[in-house]
């Protein structure tokens, strides 16, 4: 079954690199959508209800990643798999986001191999 992914990061560079890496993987990707902050991401989820996996930054304007994850839990999209991909490698933030409902927390810079390991585990469990 193919999957729709949403990439959320205020850096277009990062979204472009992540999308390239994800397309390199041997995963059944139907589509990759993009948003530049948590608010845009919520709108994108309304527009693309088929999205089942989100890769999300933390430090973003308008709505940051943690707020986005908490907001998802309040809506009917709490089932979404959210992978945090951030430059913040502190234990405090890792614990906070996993407690808030994120399924995985990885630090930048990502590699194709790390994305493959995390995404394929989540897709297999789905």
């Amino acid at each position: 079954m193919s999957v729709e992914i949403l990439l959320v990061d205020d850096s277009r560079i990062t979204r472009t690199v992540q999308a390239r890496m994800i397309r390199m993987l041997d995963l059944p990707i139907a589509a990759i959508h993009e948003a530049s902050d948590g608010l845009e991401a919520l709108l994108a989820l309304d527009e693309h209800p088929g999205v089942s996996l989100v890769v999300c930054d933390l430090n973003m304007p308008n709505m940051d990643g943690e707020s986005f994850v908490r907001e998802l839990q309040r809506t009917d999209r709490g089932d979404l798999d959210v992978v945090i991909l951030t430059s913040d490698r502190s234990v405090a933030r890792t614990e906070a986001l996993l407690d808030a409902g994120a399924r995985a927390y990885i630090t930048k810079p990502a590699t194709p191999e790390l994305l493959r390991d995390v995404l394929s585990q989540l897709l297999a469990a789905a």
Binding site: D10, S11, R12, I13, T14, T16, V17, R20, N59, M60, P61, T86, S87, D88, R89, S90, V91, A92, R93, T107, K108, P109
Partner: protein, 144 residues
């Protein structure tokens, strides 16, 4: 001051290599001036610790990094985007390396602007100036 320069250098060289595939080493002597237009990105970190971090590189070098990462875009904004995102990753690494993995902090989105290479504000004494294998200069500094 020696410690901060060393930790800034370590974070900068690590992230340049891991995120941009660029090799760079700390310059111990008086650095050569930047050649050409420079893009300077800065952000603030706050929380348990606070300060401002800034990254400088030439516009030319930033465009080269974009090419290596196979990212295209408008040359009017691409160097700023590259410098800003590299700074974001470097800051996230450095704050934890410097203050510990239990540090709670927040990073502002980076801002970036271009300046002529000969019109930059003076470097703090504990700034890290690195030179890449291809001879490009990259500076990283913190004001806290």
């Amino acid at each position: 001051m020696h410690d901060r320069r060393q930790t800034l250098s370590a974070s900068l060289s690590l992230i340049l290599e891991d995120a941009a595939f660029v090799f760079a080493e700390l310059v111990e002597d008086e650095p050569e001036p930047f050649e050409g237009e420079v893009v300077e990105a800065s952000l603030d970190y706050s929380g348990d610790r606070s300060g401002t971090m800034a990254l400088r590189m030439t516009v030319h070098f930033a465009l080269q990094v974009a090419e290596e990462l196979m990212v295209s875009g408008d040359e009017d904004t691409l160097p700023e985007e590259i410098a800003g995102e590299l700074l974001n990753i470097i800051a996230g690494h450095w704050v934890v390396e410097q203050f510990g993995e239990r540090t709670r902090f927040h990073l502002t989105p980076p801002t970036a602007a271009r300046r002529p290479g000969d019109a930059l504000s003076p470097l703090p004494e504990d700034a890290a100036v690195l030179r890449t294998d291809d001879g490009d200069r990259v500076d990283l500094m913190v004001a806290a």
